[in-house]
Structures are given as C-alpha cells and as structure tokens.
Subunit: 486 residues, 2 copies
C-alpha cells in the first residue's frame, strides 16, 4: 500500500482526521488523532519512556509551549528561523522560493542562499506563477514561529518551534534539585509549532506536531570516557556517510574509523536504533545519514539524520545533532545566568548532543512498515505492546447465552486492557476487522465455554487459536502482550 | 502545610518550576512540570483513562490546539469570551474591573455586569489605582483567546480556550467511523490556553493548562432511560444546592427529590466522584456545588462544580455542565454541516453533558490531600499506582558488595517500574527522602541478601518491612503497586 491508501485506511478506522474539517477555513498542516491514533501514540511514547528515558535514567520534563521573546533571542530563532518566500504580483500566491526554483530547475537549492541570488535564479530561469502565469515579486524572509501576545499589554511571546528550548531554560534548576551529574540526558515529549509556508502530506509536514526530544548534557573533554558504550559496541549501525552509499558497521569500528566523533554519540545512536527495533520498524530499511556542511544546522558540529524508507522515499524521523555549547552559552549570555555546572572539581559549560524525534512521522513509518496485505487480509502487524486495541472479545454467535458470557469477560478485562467487544457479522469478518487495526489477540466465547469455562485466544500473526481457562485469561494476555522483543 | 509551603516542596523536589524562570521577561501564568510532576501527571491521566474513559467505553481524541476562526464564531468565544478590564490613566496598570471592585468593596460583582455599571461602581466607590493612586479610564472588554496568524497570508486562528471544541468538530466523522450509538461519551486530555489578565497562585489560574474533558452526547428524550445508572444509584453524593449548605444523599434520592435533572447526569457525577476516590482525594472534603443562574455559563441549563477544600479554600476541579444542543447546533449553523445522528429510527441533534476537568489543579489538590506531616516525617501518601517514583532501591551500607547487589536489582527492575537508586546518607535519611516524594515502597539490600538472596520491602505508610526473595520481587511489587482502591 502506498501513502494515500494508508492514510485512507487511517481515516476510515479512526486513527486520524483533518482538524476542523467541517469548516471551509480549516487550515492545512493540522491533524487530529482519533481513538486508535491516540492509543497507538500513547503506547509509542510509553515505549520511548521505557527504552530511552528510564533505561538511561533521563530527567523528563513537560514545559510550556508559549515562551517569552528572550528565549528565542537566545536560541537564534527570532533572527534566523526563516524561510525565503516569494509572492505573485498578480494573484498573490505565496510559495517557498527555494522549493519553487528547485521544482522548476531540478537543481538542489540551499535555503540559505541570499535573497538576491534567489531573485536572480527566478528571473534567469524565467520562473512564473504556476497559478496565473504572473511575475513574482522579490524574495523575502518569513519567520516560521507563531507569535502570540500575552496579557492586556500584549507582551511578545512565541509558540516554541522545538521542545528542546524548554529543556535548556529548565536545566539550571533541575540539574541542581535532581542532584544530577554529567553526563545526564533530559527528555521531553510535547508539541511544537512551525508556521510552514506550504504544509504537505498530512503527518509529514505539520504546523502543529509532536516531538520527543532528548538532550544529552556532557563535558566535552570526556565524551570518550563513557563506560556505557562497552555494552553496545558490537551493535551494527547502518551509516550513509557520503550520499546514498551505505556501510553496515559495528559501533566500535565506526569509532575506530573516525565515522563517529566519540563514544557518547555512538552509544546514543545505538540505543536509538534499538528503540526503533522494539517499536517494530524494519531497521533494515533505515540509515543514519551524515549531513553535509550545507545541510546541517549552523550550530551543529556533526549531524546525522535517522531516516527510514517508505512509499514516500526516505523520510527523516530523528535529527541527531552535536550542538556543542551553542544553546547553553546563548541562554547564558541573554539571561546573564551562569549555566556552568560542577564536573568533578571543574566548572564546565556542558555540550549538548540531541536526539530530536518527530513522533507523528515515526508513527506513520511504523504503520507503513507494519502493514502486510496477504490475500484478502490486511494486517497491521504491530508489536503487541504497541497495538491500539489489545484484545477483541467476541461471542461465536449471538444466541444461546454466548453474548452474555462474552460481555462478562469483556467487562472484567477492559479496565486492564484496551479491549473491544464485537458481535456484528461473521466471526471471520470480525477477525479481519481486528487484523486491519492491528489487534494482536482475539478472545472467542463458543459453546465449549459454557461447558468448561474456557475460551480461545486467536493470534493475529499465526492465526492459531489456543484454548485457555477464563480464570487464567488475564495472565495469559499479560504474558503475550508484554513480551518485549526487537 | 499551606499552599506556599507545598509549592516550595514541589519546587525543591522537581515536581514543577516557573517556565523560563531564568529570563526577566518570563511570563506569569506559565509553569513547567519537572520529572516528578511529569510522572505524577502521567499516572493521573492513566487513571482517568482507566476509570472514566475505558470503564465507560469513551471515544478518546487528541486534537490540535490551533483552530480556525470559524470554530470560535460557532462556539461564541470570539464574541463573548471576554473579561472586563480597566487601565490606570497615569501608570497604565491594567486590572480586571470586576475583581478590583470586589476587592475594594467586599461585594460580589458578576463579571457580566455591563461596562457602564462597572464604571459607575468604580467612581461611586472612588476606587483608584493601587499602584500610583491615579484614576482609572473606562471599563473595556478583553478577549481571552490567544490569536495566531497562520501561513504567509496570516489567516486568523486561535489557540483553543477549552479542549472540548476539538471534540465537537471531530464528532461527525468519528461518530460514523467508530460505529457509535447514543449515548456516547468523547474524551480528550490536552492543553488549553487563556490569556488571563492577572494569573495567580501557580497551578490555580494558568494561561496554559491541561484539561481532561468528557463530553457525553445523548438523546435529550432518553436521559432517563439509562440502565448503567442502576449499578451506582446507592452511591452517596455530597451536594451543595443552595450556597454552603451541604446534603449527603444517594444518587437515587437526589433524583427523586429533583436535585439532579436525570439519570444520565446522576451517573456521570457518581463515576466522577469515584474516580477522585481512586485518585486519593479526600472526598469528604469535596462537594458538587449547584451554580446559580448568575454564575453558570449562558448555554448551561444546569451546572455543578465539583469542588474540594484546600488551604486556599474551596477550589473548583471539574465543571459539570448540561450544555443542551448549544455546541452542535452552533457548529452546524456556521459550518452548514448536518450534525444530527440516527438514534433508533429518528434523527436527533444530540445534547451534551460535560465533565470539564482541570488537571493541574486536580494534581495540586491530590498533593495537598495526600500530605501528612508526622513528627519529623513529611509523607506524601499517594495511592501507590499514582506515585511518581514507585520504588526506591538502597544498599544498607556502601561497602562489602552491597551497592553492587543493589545496582543489579535496580537495573533489572527499572524498565518495568519507576525506580530510584540511592546510596547517599543514612538509610533513615534515604527513607525520609522517599517519603517526602510519596514513594510507596523501598527495597533494601543488606547482609542477609548476600546469604539468602532476599531483600526487604519497606512500606511507606506502615513503615513495616517484609522480606522477599529477589526472584519473587517483581511480582511482589506488581501486586502492591497495582491494587486499586477507593
């Protein structure tokens, strides 16, 4: 199935829907999660907590989305978080200048090219408005932050364009009260906002989106004194160091060959990959792509994108940036607050290595990688612990007391499991409906249930049925659902 | 402990902190959750899912916070979500007019009083600026929504002032694809935003805050045909129908006496109360207060506030409003989309009963109700399943291999439990630190551990210690942590 077909399935089964779709002024780039989407996303975030946050003893925060102007003076967003745009002088259609030129010429245009050069490219290639054929005005810059005015005096503030800014401003107090020592990672799951010029493809480029960001604070002199690395050094990473060329190599070898700058970074790339394995992504269709100097953010001394292959091509799920001391020194300068911390007997301004994860995209990629069309069956082969509905409960037929017996089981288990009761249609059709939304187990109440208090548990992937006692059902489900595997 | 002392404890132990506090332009009314706050809030929301969303088969969504203008034309917020304000003509201090008059005169001033009458009250009471003694200008209205402009053409949109608007606009599609039947409840946990004039008392009046809202859609002709009510009819409700006077009465009697309008509403008030019992609130210090006509929202035909007593007095945690068909008919009119659904063989425009919960306030109230100061011990007696840290792991002393043995246990359990390893200070001091953040169980590794592979589990509330085998530790913790009780 391709992207459009998958989105249609998601719409029809209540995973997601366009936000405010009943209105003519509904805005592009805003999507809501329906009940199955909420459940899948919650479980995904819990897995992120389990395999990254808790495993690594991270400090998790949940910060405000509206932040004062100074934060974005310090972060550089106010001055530099801009896209080049052009408007048609006739019909006023506004587009991103770099993308427009790229599409018309087929050449890669860095967005950081000065306005004047973009203007020249537009006129030298005689690029006109795709809507009305009119001429474009001059290229100008458009800041992608959403501005809000706070209080009756209208104080200038912004919706954060990345969750990590909350982590940087909360770092001084929390490092102290949580009795942290370097290296220490802070984590946050939450919303960010970017006023994109032309949002596309539902979950791929949203104006309001979920990030799960991890910022590792460390002493730059000690990035290679990192004991935890030893436990993961034999793990294989798929690195694209130079364009599309791919190398499969152990973390230890990647370090030796100088592909990765230090043990700390190598460790975090490995545990990120492991996390996605547990999330059910096909990591054989993933890579860490090293960014060239023209691609990476200006503060990044080294940058890798974790990318996966989908029907839309390679998409970036996580930006892994060595941000140096850019953030803390910026905030320290503007706030005049000392951001150094004690490491051993020295005051150190920590460096930051970041794993900036797009949650909505990750969920899309997991759905696409989990989807198997097998004859008449469409099956979302989610890891059981990620499935939005964990258990279907069905009476075999709707007579002879079977529905009553099934409902009794359903009422009992639904507080502990995400369960769904269904009695409409043939049993085969009910199994198919559960397959399509990825429900790993279905319990069926049949005539034998009335005789010996047993039910069948049907496995989505093998389609085999086991018979278990009702008294042992919860334990049997617990064991099947919460066996974590890569 | 009073409010200020509790907030200080929360700050010192990493529950929360003022957002962007390092900056001079940090804004009032914005607070971030630190790691313990995040964990407590997540567990609180999971409990809400368990006892309200899953128990009642609700449809949970997660909608966008930025919504287009039409939504708020339909909801009435654009025209009417306003506070009366006045500014000092000399120093420009701006205040809420109704509160200012209230404080100066001691009289209750409804915020809906016309501007002219508020002006008269200010001049007749000779109220002057508390800052500089200057005269106030005329009262004007201030819309409390935050406006944002979307895209290069700056389309008008707003941050939602209540999460329920996402539910109303998503209702038509989700009712269909989720194969719903009336009555059905939709639920959402997420952020809302209100541009308060003068935010106060940290978690009590925030500009950016979490709501957990439930909107029950029902056929108004059938609000008394509600079978689920029977199971809860003997539950006692504490109703304040007329000012402070309190009646303790069963749900069935409250219906009979006409205190509650119908079985559906009675049922949801009961399960809300039960939820808070499971959350560890002292419901003997709670009440459902019936709002008078001058207090309730203009669309509400009947309204109860669920309130609890704290060191700040009675605070509202949940607004329970019978909204009639106000919302769906408003959205239907502006969007021109038919919002009726089939109920049996009739098309019905559903009515809405709402449970609109303030999450941040609820968490504060649970903290205050859980806090016990007992001699030198400060103990947060959270329900074990709500505790931010579930298990402390300590070596009795830091020698003879005890730390190694304790760390091994810690590494093993920390993926499945929120665990905290600590070896600094005396064992008594470590227990106290865990008491203060509400950790229900502490595991101690002692000399006997090295002999027979057992550890002690210390119970926060009884301070008793049980000895259990390490091989049975996870099961023992599971049982202790996840025994739900009101």
């Amino acid at each position: 199935m391709n992207y459009e077909q998958i989105i249609r399935l998601m719409l029809e089964r209540g995973f997601l829907l366009p936000s405010s779709e009943i209105y003519a002024d509904a805005l592009a780039g805003f999507w809501d999660y329906g009940p199955l989407g909420v459940a899948l996303k919650n479980k995904y975030v819990e897995l992120w907590r389990r395999y990254l946050v808790r495993r690594d003893n991270m400090v998790e925060i949940d910060g405000c989305q509206i932040m004062p102007k100074s934060v974005f003076v310090a972060s550089g967003h106010l001055a530099g978080f801009e896209d080049p745009i052009v408007s048609c002088t006739k019909c006023n259609l506004t587009l991103r200048a770099d993308r427009l030129i790229q599409e018309k010429t087929g050449k890669i245009i860095p967005e950081r090219l000065p306005n004047q050069e973009l203007d020249n490219l537009i006129s030298s290639n005689d690029i006109r408005c795709p809507n009305c054929g009119g001429n474009f005005g001059n290229v100008r810059r458009f800041n992608m932050m959403f501005k809000v005015n706070v209080g009756p005096s209208g104080e200038e503030a912004y919706l954060r364009p990345e969750t990590c800014q909350s982590i940087f401003v909360d770092f001084p107090r929390l490092f102290k009260v949580m009795r942290c020592k370097l290296p220490v990672a802070f984590a946050q799951y939450g919303k960010s906002f970017r006023n994109e010029i032309s949002p596309r493809q539902s979950l791929m480029r949203l104006r309001e989106f979920y990030q799960a960001e991890i910022e590792v604070f460390f002493n730059p002199d000690k990035a290679n004194e990192f004991e935890k690395f030893d436990a993961v050094k034999s793990e294989v990473l798929r690195l694209a160091l130079d364009g599309e060329k791919l190398e499969e190599i152990t973390a230890a070898e990647a370090l030796e060959k100088g592909y990765l700058p230090n043990k700390l970074i190598a460790y975090y790339l490995v545990i990120l990959k492991q996390f996605y394995q547990y999330a059910g992504l096909d990591v054989k269709r993933s890579r860490f792509r090293k960014l060239g100097d023209d691609e990476k953010a200006f503060y990044a001394s080294s940058a890798f994108d974790f990318e996966v292959e989908t029907s839309l091509g390679w998409i970036e799920l996580v930006a892994c940036n060595h941000r140096g001391d850019y953030d803390l020194s910026g905030h320290s300068k503007v706030s005049k607050k000392d951001m150094t911390v004690l490491d051993g007997d020295r005051d150190v301004l920590p460096n930051v290595f970041e794993l900036s994860m797009g949650v909505d995209r990750s969920i899309y990629a997991i759905i696409e990688h989990s989807l198997v069309v097998d004859g008449e069956r469409t099956v979302l082969r989610f890891k059981p612990y990620l499935a939005p509905i964990q258990v279907g409960v069905f009476p075999l037929v709707t007579r002879d007391g079977l529905p009553e017996a099934a409902k009794q089981i359903y009422s009992k288990i639904k507080l502990n499991f995400e369960a769904f009761y269904d009695e409409s249609g043939s049993i085969g059709r009910r199994y198919r409906r559960m397959d399509e939304i990825g429900t790993p187990f279905c319990i069926t109440v049949d005539y034998q249930t009335l005789e010996d208090n047993t039910v069948t548990i049907r496995d989505r992937d093998t389609m085999k049925q086991d018979r278990v006692k009702i008294s042992e059902l919860e334990q049997a489900l617990q064991r099947r659902l919460f066996t974590y595997s890569p």
